[in-house]
């Protein structure tokens, strides 16, 4: 199996400035106070993900999942350690994909696809499929600024899944979609998984992770606390008694579509 994501002792620090202005900073310096805080978002994390694996990235809010995903996607660089990938990466980091609010949905499709590395021709080839999948009617011609959060995440997801990628990243993508759309997304994700691509899936929903992923990596305050078989990981995090699904009265199949 070819390793496609190799993280070695990855650490990501954020420098937080305590003082916003020259005046406050000078006063702090004169008093000998610290002017910056270092926040350790990812702490010495190592793992290897092989081609075709689908990995659930789990952990509480603020545990570093999104930061790790940004490091994998190349939006951020590790402070220490190395993170290497192979092949084209696509996917959503949080909802909405950095859309330009004044551009129409269509224009945003071209721009986003170009950022993923698609040519104009490649984009045109999948344009209809993206528009069909997003299914937002004539809004596709309207500026994205007029979209509801559901609509923009539909469009973002539609673009991401139609990019011919090797690694697919999904960060709580389904949090705002309605039930039929969630189902459609899960089906598409399974299709991506079954085609042999690598998936890194961030979710809090044990049921959907269990359905999608064979492996779970769990973070806690930036540290890797679990890396192993999916069900074990869910048990490790005590997510197995997750009663989200029951509350909503969904059956097993629908649970998969729930986040």
């Amino acid at each position: 199996m070819t390793p496609v994501i190799v993280a070695e002792n990855v650490t990501k620090d954020f420098v937080l400035r305590r003082h916003k202005t020259f005046k406050k900073m000078t006063v702090a310096k004169m008093r000998g106070e610290q002017t910056v805080d270092r926040f350790n978002a990812i702490d010495d994390v190592s793992f290897t993900i092989n081609e075709g694996e689908s990995v659930g990235l789990m952990g509480l809010n603020g545990s570093g999942k999104s930061t790790l995903l940004k490091l994998v996607s190349g939006v951020m660089k590790p402070t220490k350690g190395s993170l290497l990938t192979r092949g084209r990466i696509a996917g959503l980091i949080a909802t909405g994909a950095g859309f330009q609010t004044q551009l129409s949905g269509l224009e945003n499709i071209y721009l986003n696809a170009a950022i993923y590395g698609l040519t104009e021709k490649e984009t045109k080839a999948v344009l209809d499929e993206i528009v069909d999948f997003a299914d937002i009617g004539q809004f596709i011609e309207q500026p994205v600024g007029t979209y509801s959060s559901g609509m923009s995440s539909r469009l973002g997801f539609a673009i991401a899944v139609h990019v011919d990628c090797d690694i697919f990243l999904a960060d709580e993508i389904l949090a705002v979609g309605d039930k039929p759309f969630k189902k459609k997304c899960m089906a598409k994700m399974e299709e991506i998984r079954d085609s042999g691509r690598t998936i890194v899936y961030v979710s809090h929903a044990a049921a959907s992770v269990q359905k999608m992923c064979s492996r779970v990596i769990a973070l806690e305050r930036g540290r890797l606390v679990f890396d192993g078989e999916a069900m074990e990981g869910i048990r490790f995090l005590h997510y197995e008694d997750d009663d989200d699904g029951d509350e909503l009265g969904l059956n097993d199949a629908q649970l998969g579509a729930d986040v």
Binding site: T85, I115, G117, D164
Partner: protein, 298 residues
């Protein structure tokens, strides 16, 4: 829903492992020209977003400056009597200086304006200052058309120097404008003060070029400080541009070329271009050093 199945995966065994954030800076920008084109188109429509007059502001701004200089300097301060074909002197200087100041201003704001993209999508961030420069260059074109008409009406006799000087002048400012935009766009992410500083610097640029005054006046009245102007690549670009258009539209171009320009203008021009390239390389090094911290600043 009729959908083609997702294509089979590529043969990844042939691909090397690489850092996903790796990019070659400006080299990557030119390799990804299609993306750059889309960003330029987007920027053209976005620069005057929610503005009724839209792109016209790119003309209103230099035109109002032109009329102020034409009246105050030309009529009140009698520049019309001392500088031949003074309106063209001002206008040709204004076009090229405005190209620089617009690039510098928009380039500095370019990354903060695009924070939605910068935070979520991996792309060479150098794209934004470069796109800002190209949009400003795009805005120069109609101004050039106006200048050409005025030059022709006032008896313009272009020579080889027009071509060399014009190209050299625009090249210097494209390189230098991109370089300063790179540095200031990243600095502006950390401290917005740099955005305000650009306004002041642009003010110095406007008065530090031989636009409202002539080179001859500068040499006679600056008390030996004319190197402040002649050592400035922007001022050299301005002189080259005026050499190309204004000088050749005056009644006695040969006389004007001797009195109103430094002795070795083209040599100075090539030195300015070389210096701008050096600044661009340093700017790229600076940018690469700090750009990794950009996404977490928003």
């Amino acid at each position: 829903m009729s959908e083609t199945p997702i294509a089979s995966t590529h043969d990844l065994t042939q691909e090397p492992l690489a850092a996903p954030s790796a990019n070659l800076g400006l080299v990557s920008v030119f390799r990804r020209r299609y993306l750059l084109k889309l960003l330029v188109q987007r920027e053209i429509s976005a620069r005057y977003e929610r503005s009724f007059l839209g792109f016209l502001w790119s003309y209103i701004n230099p035109l109002t400056q032109f009329f102020i200089y034409w009246y105050i300097m030309g009529i009140v301060m009698h520049a019309h009597d001392t500088i031949a074909n003074y309106p063209v002197h001002v206008f040709s200087g204004l076009i090229i200086v405005h190209f620089f100041t617009e690039t510098f201003g928009a380039g500095t704001a370019s990354i903060t304006h695009n924070k939605a993209l910068v935070q979520k999508m991996p792309l060479p961030k150098e794209m934004f200052p470069v796109a800002a420069m190209l949009v400003s260059l795009w805005h120069v074109l109609p101004q050039m058309a106006i200048l050409l008409v005025v030059c022709i009406l006032t008896g313009w006799t272009p020579d080889m120097g027009t071509l060399i000087g014009g190209v050299l002048s625009v090249s210097i400012l494209m390189v230098l404008g991109t370089a300063l935009s790179l540095v200031f766009s990243v600095a502006n992410v950390f401290w917005r003060d740099f955005g305000s500083l650009v306004g002041i610097m642009n003010h110095f640029v406007r008065f530090g070029c031989t636009m409202i005054y002539g080179y001859d006046q500068l040499v006679h009245a600056s008390g030996g400080l004319e190197w402040l102007v002649t050592g400035n690549p922007i001022a050299i670009a301005c002189l080259l541009f005026q050499r190309a258009f204004w000088a050749m539209s005056t009644k006695h171009p040969h006389h004007v070329l001797v009195t109103e320009f430094p002795a070795h203008l083209y040599r100075e021009g090539f030195i300015a271009l070389g210096a701008s390239v050096v600044v661009l390389i340093l700017a790229q090094i600076f940018f690469t050093k700090f750009e990794t911290r950009i996404p977490e600043q928003f």
